[in-house]
Symmetry: C2
Subunit: 147 residues, 2 copies
DNA sequence: CGGGTCAGTTGGTAAACCAAACCGACTATC
DNA sequence: GATAGTCGGTTTGGTTTACCAACTGACCCG
């Protein structure tokens, strides 16, 4: 076998959808309640044509929905689907990493709990619920290659 | 003010580093213990020149370290820094989302706890520690615009 | 009718990406 | 000791994508 195929993996599949430039920034905006083309464009800085393409691919991928809020000059708003909302941990993870490790951390948009405190991501064991901080507690396994 | 500046935000800053194509797949491989150029190339499918550039930028960004493991034909391995390990929640989040929402979820590399169970990301309140599932419990705030 | 808003579209250029070939320093096999 | 293969790249050349500015069409306001 001269060249092995790249690893099939849900990380890669997810990145095919939201890993392109601007995609996650668009989602950030929609998370923050910014739903209109012009505002998303201004807040992300994405070129308008690229933004159009991203919005379409995010819609096709099922993370955004496009709602017409005006009929006669057709005007649209973009909303998160359930799948889109499920990307929240990714956004929070990126935000948290940036606040901790970027050389000059910019002011962060706050994702807050109803009690007013910030929100953070925790990697926990799915069964015992124990938090795994520091990475040392995790064993990462490839698919078993028997024999 | 004709055009507002794009929002300064740690999410954007983090994406400047790890948001380029292949970057997070490279990190996935290093997380899984794949440390050599040829293996990372095979498992990600990234073109060799692009991979070289990504490895350099990830190194410059402080998430990877390059170690020479052979002197005379110079050979290298790539390792995670503490900052690199801190991106684990992002990878796990992407993996989890893909497993749940991709139309045909591919076999997932397992990130397991030492107890043998899978690992998941939880978004929790930083203070009361309460998990916020379903997105409905989170209030996302922009910087306050008073008045 | 002129100007402004909104959600794009169009056209031209710059950059990124990609596959394949090449390279230097080895090692392993004949 | 010539041939083949490994490893970590670099170089080449062509394709795709991103980017930016300007434009469009449908409306609203005056």
């Amino acid at each position: 076998m001269p060249d092995t195929k790249p690893r099939a993996c849900p990380i890669a599949g997810t990145l095919d959808l939201v890993g392109e430039r601007w995609a996650l920034l668009v989602l950030r905006e929609v998370f923050m309640g910014v739903r209109r083309f012009a505002d998303i464009q201004a807040n992300t800085g994405a070129p308008r044509d690229v933004l159009t393409k991203r919005l379409r691919s995010l819609e096709a991928g099922g993370v955004l929905e496009r709602h017409r809020y005006l009929e006669r000059p057709p005007r649209f708003e973009y909303h998160l689907t359930a799948a889109g909302q499920a990307l929240e941990p990714v956004l929070i993870g990126l935000r948290e990493w940036g606040m901790r490790y970027l050389p000059d951390p910019p002011p962060a948009p706050r994702f807050i709990h109803t009690c007013g405190a910030d929100v953070v991501t925790r990697v926990v064991c799915a069964e015992c619920g124990q938090p795994l901080e520091g990475g040392g507690l995790v064993s990462v396994l490839e698919e078993a290659h028997p024999g």
